[in-house]
């Protein structure tokens, strides 16, 4: 700790609401056609109605405010912000809420809580082992209330709630890192949601809007001994990694404030653009956030034009 840390005068900025920075980086010349609740989309009954629409008086009306997506005969209206709607195969990051008889209840930012069955997790001792009564008693040793997990959606129940599974080594309990919550429409469906960024951080971008940042671990071989993996997970994280995690978190917040889509390339561009601010907490200023988002949008446009 050097002398500068003892000086407690901080940097406090108080702004008037009228001087608020406008975070919009969208170009105004190509806004699509928007539909608002109660607006008639089409009068014909030929179309199949998807999410965000309803039928009244023989015409198709929109029920949310957003952009219409038409795929052949299916019409849906997608709102700007909504709760997560799960689909099979999505990667999600969730928090365990309850331990029930043979399953865990997991919160995933959707309208109903998701379920992780005991038969859908990998227990130590081999994959094809039958779940005994003893396993039910020791469920709490595996996952308890408040733990964070990464999982994949196995199936969707009739009422819309999700059934998760962690039947692969890349899923499971998450140990040390930072969770960032954003709204799900900013996350695009990709083939790979686990990224290792060159700055030494591994990112899990959950489709439900939960993003997990953790310091990158060396590639571990399958450890038969559970105690050794636990020791690996609880190694203290050094301050350079912590600063990188904080910088990434602020970059993601800057992208979210300007409502830009999040994926590994946009997060990486935002990180590189933010390096010119040496002090990580400078990224909390609204002007700095707008600047980072604007430069990132610029680089993404250049990438798309190529």
């Amino acid at each position: 700790m050097n002398e500068n840390d003892i000086n407690m005068t901080g940097h406090v900025s108080i702004r008037l609401a009228s001087e608020r920075v406008n975070h919009c980086v969208a170009s105004s010349n190509d806004t699509p056609r928007f539909y608002t609740p109660g607006e008639v989309i089409s009068g014909m009954q030929d179309f199949m109605r998807g999410h965000g629409t309803y039928v009244e008086d023989n015409c198709l009306k929109s029920s949310v405010a957003g952009v219409m997506q038409k795929v052949n005969k299916l019409i849906c209206v997608r709102p700007l912000k909504s709760r997560y709607v799960g689909e099979i195969g999505d990667v999600v990051v969730g928090r365990v809420l309850e331990v029930q008889q043979r399953r865990w209840k997991v919160e995933t930012n959707s309208r109903l809580d998701s379920i992780l069955q005991l038969s859908s997790v990998n227990l130590p001792g081999g994959e094809l082992r039958r779940r005994s009564a003893e396993d039910e008693q020791t469920m709490r040793k595996h996952l308890k209330e408040g733990d964070l997990i990464s999982a994949e959606v196995q199936s969707v129940f009739a009422d819309g709630s999700l059934s998760l599974h962690t039947r692969s080594l890349k899923y499971g309990k998450l140990s040390q890192g930072v969770l960032v919550k954003v709204f799900p429409s900013l996350i695009r469906r990709r083939k790979n949601h686990f990224h290792n960024l060159p700055c030494g951080v591994s990112v899990i971008i959950g489709n439900n809007g939960f993003i997990w940042l953790s310091p990158r671990l060396e590639e571990a071989t399958i450890d038969e001994n559970p105690d050794e993996t636990k020791n690996n997970e609880l190694q203290p994280v050094d301050s350079i990694d912590r600063e990188t995690l904080a910088r990434l978190k602020n970059c993601i917040a800057a992208l979210v404030a300007s409502k830009m889509m999040l994926d590994d390339s946009s997060i990486m561009f935002a990180y590189e653009e933010s390096l010119k601010y040496e002090d990580v907490k400078e990224l909390l200023d609204p002007e700095a956030m707008l600047d980072v988002a604007f430069m990132t949008q610029h680089r993404l446009n250049n990438l798309m034009d190529e």
Partner: protein, 250 residues
């Protein structure tokens, strides 16, 4: 005879408006980052904040298997009225307003889509200058649109009153606090203007049935005008939030 001075000889009201003029409405969506949806609305000097959480899993005692449970909480800030108000929540007026809000908003939300879920709507009145209920309904509609909750149509609310101009009746639109306190009946209407249906109708004093149709139609016209203003605010908000790589049409 109620309030002869509500309308001057030139046909101007106590705050200088014409009988069929609304107060200026300014609104903004997405003012908070934590709730799923939020909105801020000013109608004249009445200022209201609305926040929507949901739909999320309903607690076991409240969950219903057919439809979503809509939970409203109406609260007035202690500094919102002329005299400092001690109980912001839980007093009888707040509970009654919460029930009325629930009635108006349940009429618009497509509740059958979300069984076993719950939507929480919190309204905070920062400054009350008459028409606080109407401003709350309008702000709650914007917050629901911001949260992406499916609605049948916009819900708009407006008040109307009755005054006499040289012997002939003249209905007044959008009563402020001064006009309310001067006496005179206040009719509050919450309606879905695009379908023309009425979700809530309330009247403070008595009104002769001959004049009722007139006052009601003036209030419904006010609701239609408010819907145009809210729709424009929603479209402006959408235009700001849409980035280029989002749009996919096949």
């Amino acid at each position: 005879m109620p309030g002869p001075d509500l309308l001057s000889s030139q046909g101007l009201r106590l705050d200088g408006r014409r009988p069929n003029e609304l107060r200026r409405i300014r609104c903004k969506l997405g003012v908070f980052t934590q709730p799923d949806g939020s909105a801020y609305l000013e109608q004249g000097n009445t200022k209201v904040l609305a926040a929507v959480y949901g739909p999320h899993q309903a607690s076991k005692s409240k969950s219903s298997t057919e439809a979503v449970v809509v939970n409203c909480q109406y609260s007035m800030a202690t500094f919102s009225t002329g005299e400092r108000k001690n109980r912001p929540r839980g007093d009888r007026k707040s509970l009654e307003m919460s029930l009325h809000l629930r009635q108006a908003l349940t009429a618009a939300i497509k509740t059958e889509l979300y069984p076993r879920s719950q939507i929480d709507i919190y309204i905070e009145v920062l400054q009350a200058d008459g028409g606080a209920y109407c401003a709350s309904v309008n702000a709650a509609t914007l917050a629901l649109v911001d949260a992406g909750v499916p609605l049948r149509a916009y819900v708009c609310a407006c008040t109307a009153s009755m005054a006499w101009h040289g012997g002939s009746p003249a209905p007044l639109l959008d009563v402020g606090h001064v006009e309310e306190a001067a006496g005179g009946v206040v009719l509050t209407v919450a309606s879905l203007p695009s379908t023309g249906s009425i979700a809530l109708l309330e009247m403070s004093h008595r009104l002769h049935s001959d004049y009722f149709e007139n006052v009601l139609s003036r209030a419904l016209q006010g609701c239609r005008d408010i819907e145009v203003i809210l729709d424009k605010a929603v479209r402006d908000h959408l235009a700001e939030g849409w980035t280029k790589q989002d749009v996919v049409t096949v």
